[in-house]
Structure formats: C-alpha cells, structure tokens
Symmetry: C2
C-alpha cells in the first residue's frame, strides 16, 4: 500500500491525489507539516517538501509531485492524463509547469503564507498588500483560463489531462483561502464546477485545515 | 530546423543543449536575453523565460527545459537519458528537479545575479555576502554528488542520464562564474571531467558571455 505524505492545503499533494483518484490507485494519506521539519521526514526527503510517496513493501520512494505524476502515468494505464502526440504532451506539461510554478508563485504561495503559515506557525496578522497582490494576479490567471477554454474543451486540448488536475489543485487551495473571485469568469467557473463534481475531487473538498475555515461556497457545485 | 532561444550562461538551456548534442539533434541557437523582455519573445512565451524551442515548419513551440527534454526523450530514441524501470526513471527525474530547482536556487541563481546581471544590467557591484553564501552552498551540493558517486557510476545509477546533464549544466555555469572549488571533492571532480570531455559539452565550453571571463581552468580537462 502506498503512503502519501501531505497536508490538506498543499496544492502539489492535491494534484497527486486527483491523479490517483482518477486512476483508481489506493493510498494511505499521512499527515506531514513540512514547516515542522521533522527529522524522520527529512531522512525521507532532504528538501523537506511534500508530497512524498512511499511503498515500503517494494522499497520505492517517490519525491516531488511531477516525479509522482510521471510515475503513475507510466505504470497505470487507466485514465491516461498525458494524452496525444508528443507536441500535445508538451502542451500539457507546459501548462502543468505554468500552474505549478507561476500560479503557485503569484497566488497560492502568498495566500498560504498570509492566511495559513502566519496563523498556524508565525502567529502574525496577514499582510493586506500581499493578499491584494495575490487576488489581483488571480484575475489575470483566470482570464488566461477563459482564453484557453474559448478554444478548447479542456485546458490543454480535447481531453481532460494533467493540466486540468494541476490547475484545479492550485485553484482549490486559493479558493479555500478566499483568493478567487469568479465574477466575470464564466468559462473558468463552468470548467471548475465540472472538476469539482468529479469523485476524485469530492473527497478533497470535505477536508479541513485546522483552525482555517473555507468560504461558504467552497464545496458547492452552484457557485 | 529547430531554433533554440537561449543565452550562453543559462543553465537550463545548457541542459537542453547537452541532451540535443547527445541525441544528435541539429538546431540553430538564437541569442535571447530574457531580462530585456523583448515583445516578440514574450509573444512566444509569456513567462519570458528561456529556453524555448521552435520548429516553424511543423508549427511546434516547446516551452520550458523539462518540457523540451521530455519531448526529445519521447521522439528521438538515440542515447536515451531516462533509462530503466519506472522507479529508476523516478530517481533520474528526482535528481533533475533537485539540480534545476535547489542547486539553481542556492548556487546558480545568486551567482548569475551577482556576477552577470549586476554587471550587464543593473551596473552594481556584487554583494560579497550573497557570493559567499552561494559558494558555501556549493560545497554541500558537491558533498552530496560525492556521496552519490560512492554508490553509483553515474549520478542516478549505472548509466549516464538526464540527471548527469542537469547537474553538469548547473555546475558549468557556477564554475564559469567562479563559484566552484573542487578541493576535497575528488569523486565529483572526476565525474565532471568525464562530462567535460564529451563532444556535446566541448562546444558549450568554448562560448563566452559578453564582458565576463571564466576562470583559467574552466575549459581544462585536468583540473
């Protein structure tokens, strides 16, 4: 049985959990708070980051969400999430990196810092300017999602792919932390409601981070 | 013919160029200085980062070094650089991310900022503390390379892989900028000399960045 080291608001762990859910791979979630820098966890992954997956029976450790996703894409044929020709796959991977790197840097990371870490770890008030910057950036990213969906059924093309999972994972954490305003983003909103209605997503949405409540419509399917 | 947008000291472009060299893929290098944020290049890649590869005849654009490497690994069978079983491939990808993300963050990025950007763009003197921090971090990373090579012929296992190319790319830029001291890193030094002697690497080592000279032994095969 795979163990997945993660915490509820980690967007990269959410991407992995969505993929495992779509592929029907069973796993035991193990709660890990990377900011505690626990010695046993640092032995597993010296960078101290989640997600990490371990299959102790087979002696396999997978470190980093992109490594984990490529591994299960290669080993589990059900619900392929890197579909199509080599250029199609390049477009999927480009968008995954775009969400994992840039959306995370501009939106998810500042929201996690201001609304989660400052509350749970540093015991500081959030910085209003950083929050406003993240929410302003979110509007631009939603504009780009609208643009993609003007031309495509799913973010990277005609089929659901890892790009949709990566995007939904980042957006769901930003949404939990009150960083997403769906107003005048009809295309993106409809796509996101579709993602939310998937069984792989329903479980994630019922989880809560200690002491931090999501907005009232976080779980709802009619935004 | 592929065009590769890059500049001589970009470690991610170097990783791609090493892969293309090993695989025998021809390309035309196009000089791009991402800090100039040229409009035509931003149209190609809105994040403004190199490397980007374009095949205008086939209408294919590849953005981000990891996307490019996966693309050529999938489409060119010569000299596979993601060899072995799924766990072997996961280990290669883990190390690629380790060099691309953490070595870059701790060593290559501060060196590029202090010794290239401050000279060419900001016209400022380098910050000695940042330089000392990068060089201190380099010692720890070389220790880890020594450790890997105690157990393996190449960084990720018994065969040369993308992990070796990613590592050599980052190290070569850090070395150009005077950030690497090989003293008491015999294992790593021997591995790096082996990398330097490959035809795919020789071309890179003869290139120079305008106004920035590398140390005397930068190209040498007897360090």
């Amino acid at each position: 049985m795979w163990q997945l080291y993660q915490f509820p608001l980690c967007p990269f762990s959410r991407k992995v959990r969505l993929l495992l859910g779509e592929k029907g791979v069973g796993y035991e979630p193990v709660r890990e708070s990377p900011w505690q820098r626990r010695d046993e966890f640092l032995d597993l992954n010296p960078t101290g980051q989640v997600p990490v997956m371990v299959d102790s029976e087979r002696g396999v450790t997978l470190i980093d969400s992109s490594v984990i996703c490529e591994f299960f894409e290669e080993t589990v044929t059900k619900s392929p999430m890197l579909n199509g020709t080599a250029p199609d796959r390049a477009e999927i991977r480009r968008l995954v990196i775009w969400f994992d790197t840039y959306f995370y840097r501009d939106i998810t990371a500042p929201l996690l810092n201001e609304r989660m870490l400052k509350r749970l770890v540093y015991r500081q008030a959030p910085d209003g300017q950083a929050l406003r910057g993240a929410m302003k950036a979110a509007v631009e990213y939603l504009d780009y999602i609208d643009y993609l969906l003007d031309h495509r059924t799913w973010l990277a093309g005609p089929m659901m792919s890892l790009a949709d999972l990566a995007a939904a994972a980042q957006i769901s954490v930003a949404d939990y932390l009150g960083g997403i305003d769906w107003k005048s983003h009809e295309q993106a909103k409809r796509w996101y409601i579709g993602m939310k209605s998937r069984p792989s997503f329903r479980n994630l949405l019922t989880e809560r981070m200690d002491g931090i409540a999501p907005p009232a419509d976080y779980e709802k399917l009619d935004l």
